[in-house]
Symmetry: C2
Subunit: 275 residues, 2 copies
């Protein structure tokens, strides 16, 4: 049996005369409350770029805008390289589904850049915080919750989902170790998916559960394919922190490190919430 | 005489049967080293959305990808509302210029969301750091440098442009007060422009001047039109911090506060650099 992540990423080329378009189906294994886990949608966009015959280099930058809810069932992704330079390539993407009258509607908009990576001076200005090893922490089991949560092994260092929804929150910092529940070597698509692993910061900050959903996520990939291969199926340390909450939206900054302290990804989200 | 910022933002609707397309010209007043200041390009995209007759609400989220260098002269912007919901609207944008053979080429890709804002619970998890008032700090004068620098009054609190390029950098945190040199009340377009006011983090981190240019900038607008009006032409506190530098790219996180501590914008960039 294939890994559920690879099943979720399966795309079919539309036809040889439409190289930019591919077709897929949402995955029940990564279902969230009323649609797919946002991370799996980001991952399938990475996959669409990766599959494109004209691709130059690896994914370096991805912005995904969740313009509407993705419905269960079929979708089409269009991934078009609109500008190719010597070492970088810029992409415009959309995910469409049939609307109520059968005609295609835009559900997701996205932009991306792939790039040929070269060795340069490097530095980490956001060192991994000192935290206990994953083996010293308990796995958070969330049986009966959203299905996608069962696809990950999560071990919270701090800022776990509140046990008491008493309105007494004081901060919005979460740190957790995360890896695929069924072991799978890290690649760009799974790294994109894990960048969305955090529950809404507003829940933690307020110790209050309110409706919330990601509006936009930007991911900067700092790792090369080789560095991802080095990680294999090991845990990543994932950290997120809210910044501003106002007028029905909040944002978060996030970082994902390999266990050796390599900063693999920095990510940002704008999230809708209801009072 | 009009304010140079308003001159730079002047767009002409292409025609009534092409509501998504408008035409503009680059501004010498905001020239950077080999093209326009990235912030003025972000601002003109905001302006294109603002001008659109079908716009719903105010700009809330903007991602701009600098796919190629903008050349001096004419450009076209296409701003298309691809999905309109009850209180949010998603946009896909591109800026094109005539290429070497005269046919249009994509120079900038962008996505955006506008939204109707409503009062909700609010909180600031990124308080303004304690800093001296702008009146207690010297203005940094940069005569003979890039023209756009003359459009802003900048007063560095810390992390100014290094005086000695001795390779001895130790951090990448910059804080400065900034406002339009010629006073102008803050609006969404000028806030977008100021979100790009930071010189490359890699210069500070290494105390070494290397070629660098923004590849992508994402701006989350946390302020309402009313909060911008409250600010008027006063200084904003702008802060930026690098995170990871590797394989020819680095990223930064940034915040802009009004003087009363209101967090107006959070922003992120991916920047190309050469060793």
């Amino acid at each position: 049996m294939n890994h559920p992540f690879d099943e979720a990423l399966r795309l079919q080329a539309a036809s040889s005369d439409q190289p930019h378009t591919s077709a897929g189906t949402t995955s029940a294994a990564y279902w969230n409350m009323v649609g797919p886990y946002g991370g799996i949608t980001a991952a399938v966009l990475v996959q669409a770029i990766h599959n494109h015959p004209a691709r130059l280099g690896d994914i370096t930058l991805l912005t995904v805008n969740y313009a509407s809810g993705v419905a269960a069932g079929a979708f089409h992704i269009t991934a078009t390289p609109v500008r190719t330079n010597r070492s970088t390539q810029h992409w415009v993407l959309s995910l469409e589904q049939a609307g109520p009258e059968g005609s295609p509607e835009v559900v997701i908009t996205a932009t991306a850049m792939t790039a040929l990576r070269r060795e340069t001076w490097d530095q980490n200005d956001m060192p991994m915080p000192p935290v206990p090893a994953p083996s010293d922490l308990e796995r958070r089991v969330m049986t009966g919750a959203m299905e996608w949560l069962n696809r990950y092994d999560m071990r919270f260092v701090q800022g776990g989902i509140p046990d008491d929804w008493d309105g007494g929150g004081t901060h919005s910092l979460t740190q957790l170790w995360v890896r695929d529940e069924q072991p799978r070597a890290l690649d760009f698509a799974s790294l994109a998916a894990m960048s969305d692993v955090f529950y809404p910061r507003v829940w933690l900050r307020r110790a209050t559960r309110v409706p919330a959903g990601t509006v936009s996520m930007t991911i900067y990939f700092h790792a090369s394919a080789g560095q991802l291969a080095d990680n294999g199926a090991n845990f990543l340390l994932a950290q997120a922190q809210g910044q501003a909450y106002r007028h029905g939206f909040f944002d978060q900054t996030a970082q994902l490190w390999a266990q050796d302290g390599t900063l693999l990804v920095t990510s940002h989200q704008l999230v809708y919430f209801k009072t």
